[in-house]
């Protein structure tokens, strides 16, 4: 029997290390696999038996003796028995491409990766021209997974073509592949999970990107809040280099690619691509005005692909399985699968990879099984701190970039944060402004100062100070931030604020004793809804 117990951040945070020790005490050396992303079952102990691979969860160290005893007799008799891992409905019903390997084995074991079709995409890419690789990515319909959903193939084409006119006699133009692993949105952990459970897939995707556009140096800009991913990525890079998948002569192809992890330093704005590039250059993470696009003048002024972890990872499977396979998943212009991250006050939180098109309600009710607290669901925030709060009337929206844009919401990086009926939406609106105060890069006034004013105005509204005028003021402030900010930090902070105001106006009335302000506040909030203008979500995020 082979035992597996994950070394993923969430599994560790729930005590998987103690479970591993308990197994060792019992004379068993477990394989430290990645997580399947079924976080509600972590620590999930898996055992390879004669009857296949079965699971127990959530286990703690004290359960180990009884599990070992049950394995000798009848595993199913144990209270924590979950049956065959692959048959757990939460997992079985998913469409896993990116996370197909997650949890199967030791994430940094190179032999394991190769045994599970790893580096097959790279093998094909090494026999293709850069243009052929770019075309394959274009055909797949892959759109960037970092939030803005810009077509990856088109970005790659720009970098591929950049610097080509310098003439055949000149040195090839230095270009870079930068992986955006800043994953700052609350409610997101898809990048983390894939980096911790299947890091070679990211390395493979980045090498393929390098071959496609002619870049020989890659950087993974990783947030410092991810110490486990940092350790695993460094180990994986070291081993991939030893095995000649990275370096001066990849698999004796004559092609080269070098890769390095660089740590962020606790700044949300450094997830914005130009701020990230400044940070990688060793500067303050101040957002750059665009143009020039990073694809033309990026890192150190050179043509640079900046892609999210999941975008680059998807390229590995696109090259391996073909563009058509990938493109077959999804709906409308949202092709492939989406890594949905179910988080917050939810019974069964975790990673759910599905084709685009599933509704929010299916995710939260069928997969999530309602709130963790057992209380009624109230609001759902999708797409991180700049995403709108959605009331129940909007939960039937399919997960599709365009469908979300149509209701002034965004899928962003795919994070879903669930709140129960104890949530105070005025406090959430205030937090959105406060977060902008803390994380603004400071370049533009509407964002830097507007957010400070926003906190104050919301405080006055809740304290019932000159409420009607302050509601109008808040509304105007939101307009100023939305239209006067250089990037989506200031430009979209109004989204959670306005959605809280328009869908949960009663929360802004809590301290109103007279009841007189109520109608005015409701009327005013309807104005706010009515004036939510156009597709600013698209405008603010349309940054590529």
């Amino acid at each position: 029997m082979i035992f597996y117990i994950p070394q993923d951040t969430t599994a560790l945070a729930l005590g998987s290390e103690a479970v591993a020790s308990a197994l060792q005490t019992a004379g068993i050396e477990p394989i430290r696999n990645g997580s399947r992303g079924l976080f509600w079952l972590e620590p999930l102990l898996e055992v390879e038996t004669d009857q296949g691979r079965i699971a127990f969860g959530p286990v703690s160290a004290k359960d180990i003796p009884s599990i070992i005893a049950a394995l000798d007799v009848d595993p199913a008799s144990h209270a924590l028995y979950q049956g065959a891992v692959a048959e757990i409905p939460y997992l079985k019903s998913q469409q896993r491409l990116t996370y197909a390997r997650a949890g199967l084995g030791d994430p940094v074991c190179l032999e394991n990766y190769q045994a599970l079709n790893g580096f097959q995409g790279l093998k094909k890419a090494l026999e293709m021209t850069g243009q052929q690789i770019v075309d394959e990515v274009k055909d797949s319909g892959l759109r960037g997974r970092g939030g803005a959903a810009f077509p990856a193939g088109i970005k790659w084409q720009t970098v591929h073509d950049a610097g080509a006119s310098t003439g055949a006699d000149k040195e090839p133009c230095q270009k870079y592949i930068v992986c955006n692993a800043d994953e700052g949105d609350s409610g997101t952990f898809a990048d983390r999970l894939v980096m911790e459970a299947d890091p070679y897939q990211l390395i493979e995707g980045m090498i393929i990107a390098g071959l496609a556009v002619g870049a020989t140096q890659g950087y993974i800009y990783l947030r410092s809040e991810y110490p486990v991913a940092h350790r695993l990525l460094n180990t994986a890079i070291e081993r991939a280099t030893q095995a000649n998948f990275l370096g001066d002569n990849i698999q004796d192809s004559g092609k080269q690619f070098h890769l390095e992890v660089r740590l962020g330093a606790g700044a949300y704005i450094c997830g914005e691509e130009t701020s990230l590039l400044e940070s990688l250059e060793g500067k303050r993470g101040m957002v750059r005005a665009k143009p020039p696009l990073p694809a033309i003048e990026g890192l150190f002024g050179k043509p640079t692909v900046v892609n999210n972890v999941l975008t680059l990872v998807a390229v590995s499977s696109i090259l391996e399985q073909g563009a058509a396979t990938y493109q077959n998943f999804g709906m409308g212009r949202s092709r492939g699968t989406l890594a949905i991250q179910l988080a917050g006050n939810i019974k069964r939180g975790g990673l759910i990879e599905l084709a685009f098109g599933v509704t929010l309600r299916e995710i939260v009710e069928d997969y999530g099984q309602g709130t963790y607290s057992g209380r009624p669901l109230r609001a759902i925030q999708v797409g991180g701190p700049l995403g709108a709060f959605l009331p129940e009337s909007q939960w039937d929206t399919p997960m599709d970039y365009e469908a979300f844009a149509a209701i002034k919401a965004m899928i962003g990086h795919g994070g879903i944060v669930v709140f129960d009926d104890g949530a105070d939406m005025a406090a959430q609106a205030r937090f959105a402004m406060e977060f902008c105060v803390v994380e603004s890069c400071g370049k533009c006034t509407p964002c830097r100062i507007g957010s400070v004013r926003g906190v104050e105005v919301i405080d006055r509204i809740v304290a019932n100070e000159n409420r009607d005028n302050n509601l109008i003021l808040l509304h105007e402030l939101c307009d100023t931030m939305e239209f006067g900010s250089l990037c989506a930090m200031g430009g979209m902070t109004p989204y959670p604020v306005r959605s809280a105001l328009s869908h949960f106006p009663e929360d802004f009335l809590i301290q109103d004793a007279t009841g007189a302000g109520q109608d005015a506040a409701l009327a005013s909030s309807q104005n706010v809804t009515g004036s939510l203008s156009g597709d600013a979500a698209g405008a603010a995020q349309g940054e590529n």
């Binding site: 969430t10 609350s186 990688l280 988080a343």
Partner: protein
């Protein structure tokens, strides 16, 4: 605050080591902080000279990022996640509890130098909130009681270390 000769030397060594790295200022600052626990003011001129930057530029970078500390911190850094998913699971209460029981506001260190309390915005553990990070370990589903246990662990570890030193 002044720093010792040894500390000055170790900063100079690190500057020399990171100088060849393109865009190496952040890695250098992380390394200095990893060594000393913070980036002392006295490091700024050494870094500026070594990397051919102005002091203002170096200072500007240090102050931009939440991670970099300019004064000594406790032996353990305790970060409480303040972001939305953790809020939905009661991190506001946890935050209040932590501040009250430790007698600290964010950025402060206990008198015995054991614990510095910090805010953090998401640790990627949002399916099992509220989350707390202690040094390089992350903890899930931390309520008030669990927090107290974790803090007791840190304080006891210190007490027993002192005992064995005697």
């Amino acid at each position: 605050m002044g720093i010792s000769q040894i500390e000055q030397q170790s900063i100079s060594d690190l500057v020399g080591q990171y100088k060849p790295l393109s865009g190496g200022l952040l890695p250098l600052l992380h390394a200095i902080q990893g060594d000393l626990g913070y980036v002392p003011d006295a490091a700024v001129p050494i870094i500026a000279k070594g990397l051919n930057l102005s002091r203002a530029e170096v200072h500007g970078v240090i102050s931009f990022y939440h991670d970099f500390k300019t004064s000594p911190v406790g032996r353990h850094t305790v970060q409480i996640c303040r972001a939305e998913a953790c809020q939905s699971m009661g991190s506001r209460e946890l935050e209040a509890h932590a501040k009250q029981t430790l007698g600290l506001d964010y950025g402060e260190t206990t008198a015995d130098g054991a614990i510095t309390l910090e805010p953090v915005y998401c640790l990627g553990n949002c399916a099992c909130s509220p989350s707390v990070r202690i040094d390089n370990d992350i903890f899930a589903r931390v309520n008030g009681d669990r927090f107290d246990d974790l803090m007791d662990g840190l304080l006891n570890e210190h007490a027993s270390a002192e005992r064995s030193a005697k």
